[in-house]
Amino acid sequence: MPRIKVKRTSTVTDMTAMCDVAALLLTFFILTATARQPEPLAVSTPSSTYEFKVPAENNATLTIGQGKVFFEVAGVNVRKRTLELMAEQYNMTFTPEELKAFMGIGSFGVPLQSLKQLIAMKAGDRMKPGVQPGIPADSTDNQLSAWVLNARKATKEINQQDMRISIKGDSKEEYPVVKKVIDILQDQKVNKFLLVTNAEAKKK
């Protein structure tokens, strides 16, 4: 009697299908996601159970951490117009190239006088800790107030909508620093603002 032949099959699986799935996922993620903006001032926000999304437009974000304040206004055209208004107020001129480069800069924290140097820097150098000292917000040189006011003007002009202001504070930040910023906003009759927080599950 002949021996039963054991059919030996190949152990190699066809990976083509899996490769297709991976490529599909990759395409999906590239198309749907927006890139995370690198932040020159990293803060860890406190968590809350509020469920209100930070608006993507008509919004300015003030980042507070280590006693410094950083500023960012949403929308590239609004950003450009804000800088133009700032330049007007402080009698400075920015070249079209500098305005264009500024449109690409998100959050920043330098006095207006050294903004040109910041724009000229490479993107990687801008993010290094210690490069940006924060926006001056003293009573003698209140540039933060000017930035907020001009950003509000620019938003109104371009989007015909009121700008909202989000405060993104570090959870360890002492309250007086936050109060100083809120007081600046209240001087402009901005009594409503958003505090950026992490999402937290609701307690039952």
């Binding site: 899996m18 509020y50 469920e51 002492e174 309250y175 209240q186 950026v196």
Partner: protein, 168 residues
Amino acid sequence: MAELNTGGKKATPRVDMTPMVDLMFLLVTFFILTTVISTPQAMDIVKPDKNDKQPENRLELKASKTMTILLGKNNKVAWYMGVAGETAPNIGPLATVGDDIVKNRKIADASGVAGDFVVLVKPTSGSTFQNFVDMMDELEILKVKVRQIDDDNIQDNEKQAMKEQGIL
């Protein structure tokens, strides 16, 4: 691994896709990690207008229905009902102040005085941003409708009481 020759025939030329799949998943992982999946959450806060020339903006508070919470150092709070200085503030950790609010609200609602239960939050210089957010969050969870933030008018007797407890 050597491929087993399954037939007598010559194996068809095929490309091994495994490294490509590896690379694809690496890229997918990279994109998941570097992109923002959800926008951050925010709480909307309203502060009273600073213009004193408009007295109609001032809210009249009922002493029996007003609870003042002072945020102090080391995640501690001091709270009292009614008018400052009349009763000594209670000191407690921020984490348990929610229970006190619930208790006080029950007493206030049972008193029969008209008007809403009001919570006045006064963050002092010793508190952190985290304390403030936690406090406002707690009020939202407990559905305290009328809440006021007051960081300008911290009265001397309040400061005194907080100093004695070492939380200012």
